[in-house]
Symmetry: C2
Subunit: 326 residues, 2 copies
């Protein structure tokens, strides 16, 4: 479910009148997405996505997200381009919510990840990181290592209801991981997507029928952080099979294509295992928080936190960067 705010006809028409994109031809809610309300919008000028930002998004951060998308799109990254109104502003207001229109991207996100998705993904992620280097705004990662202890504290009261002993295990993992985290300045940083799961990456077949990336969407966790951490998020999100097994072939394809686009430093390669543990605990903790704080009747699909406990254990046991494909 991803339509939380219903947009009336009058409000929509008044909103569209602030743009130079022609008359309204179609308007449908989109099922994908969890945080915001998304509509597929067709006007006489083409197809667009209208997003109303719901309460989990801080309006003060929207200029960063929209600015980064605009910056990346102008440099060839296939991400949505925010569309300006007649007054030059992309971030507007609709039905009491911050709202923006972005370009529509063709493509299909992979419901089942195949090995041949990983190289195009890695190459595109490397290009995204390079393209973003000059974007002059800094946004700290609220869900990075500095935020994990507080997030874990928020799960402390009810976390063991999900799995007995879970909180004590996470305390150990977190202390161990933070002790090994790369010291400031050791690894290159820049603008990262930070949530590049399969449902945020669209593919289309190229001339030879191989998947190519046609779109990267949902930049609303983007931030300024270690570039290698984005690779670690993808290793978590793309390289495990349905049975929980880590697919090192996929990992090698991802890392190899990434490094061909943007070479990894030796320190980045060495740090990948601990970054993977970090990414696993980040998704584990936000899922655990949602699991223990979402009322049972809420219209939100809760995601299983224990999927990420299994990934965390795998990465914690990984003996070398090579064993995770680096």
């Amino acid at each position: 479910m991803a339509v939380y705010t219903e947009v009336t006809d009058e409000a929509l028409r008044a909103f569209l009148a602030e743009y130079d994109i022609g008359g309204l031809l179609a308007f449908r809610g989109i099922a994908e997405g969890v945080e915001n309300s998304n509509y597929a919008l067709r006007t006489e000028r083409g197809d667009f996505i209208l997003t109303l930002y719901e309460k989990r998004v801080d309006p003060a951060e929207l200029p960063y997200f929209l600015g980064l998308m605009d910056y990346l799109a102008a440099r060839g990254v296939p991400c949505p381009t925010p569309v300006d109104g007649r007054d030059g502003e992309a971030l507007r207001s609709l039905c009491g919510r911050p709202a923006a229109i972005c370009t529509f991207l063709e493509g299909v996100w992979p419901r089942r990840v195949r090995p041949e998705h990983l190289a195009p993904l890695g190459a595109e992620l490397g290009r995204l990181h390079l393209a973003g280097l000059g974007f002059p705004v800094y946004r700290p990662n609220a869900l990075g290592p500095g935020g994990w202890p507080k997030l874990l504290d928020g799960c402390r009261a009810r976390g063991d209801e999900v799995s007995p002993g879970l909180i004590a295990e996470l305390d150990r993992h977190l202390a161990d991981m933070l002790a090994q985290w790369p010291r400031d300045g050791l690894l290159p940083d820049g603008h990262i997507h930070a949530d590049l799961f399969p449902d945020n990456v669209f593919f289309l077949p190229d001339a030879a029928g191989k998947p190519r990336v046609s779109g990267l969407i949902d930049f609303y966790f983007a931030c300024t952080d270690l570039l290698a951490y984005d690779v670690a998020v993808c290793l978590n999100a793309w390289c495990f099979e349905a049975d929980g097994a880590f697919n090192v072939t996929k990992a090698r394809a991802l890392i190899g294509a990434y490094a061909a686009a943007r070479p990894l430093t030796p320190e980045e390669r060495a740090a990948l295992p601990v970054m993977c543990r970090g990414a696993a605990i980040r998704f584990l903790l936000t899922r655990l928080y949602d699991w223990t704080h979402t009322p049972p009747g809420a219209l939100v699909t809760r995601k299983d936190p224990l999927e990420y406990l299994r990934k965390l254990r795998f990465f914690a046991a990984a003996v070398s960067p090579e064993s995770i494909g680096a």
Copy 2:
């Protein structure tokens, strides 16, 4: 939420290979709709809607629904046209569900009904009824008067939890209504939509900026029943204001435009009040059934049954066809 079945890439590609509609360009879940999974599908040949029929729909009835849409579309009704596969079959199977692809219709359903929507709606409903007259399949209305006593019995155990005394009041209304229901053969019958709520009707502005109907969708309650009953459904669904007041101006516009397209017999006009009570109790009963049978954690938005109790009381108190706009 209207994506219950996730379609994998491989399954989708194999499914599309059974059609002659070109390669896949985009595929997004649609938020609207309650009963089935709907996807917006773009191929090299244009835009389509892919529907997977979920468990509330009886597969044996799908040929009626798809056949009726095909028949109506061929006669100029702006409804989705089922797209045949290479073998000439529109009804196929995908991910273990019956599935069909239909044409995409432009337009926007009115989130807030304005008086000027009612005449185009009425005219289109009249044309739909005339266009369907020759369709040679009969499907009884499972949610018509013959089914209401059983539906009420299904709500008996817990109905009064929603409102004290509700079941006794519905017993009285139902007995009274069935006693006044037009005897068989008195009113003309044919193929009716039976669920023509605002979210099933798309509008676009005409050259003068007035709304015109661009699409009628969701024929999965369609059946063979009294034509005037479809008008009564629309009077329930389109002619009450948010404060519960009946808007007789809207009702007159609806009925007037309907009758201009398909003249109402004197018996139909006289029977409209009891048909309106029937339509009110039908939506009240299905909502009440869902309300009392849906587990609180289910990912379904339950609709308020008492909205239709207020409508039922209004129509039961209506002294004449004129008082409801007939």
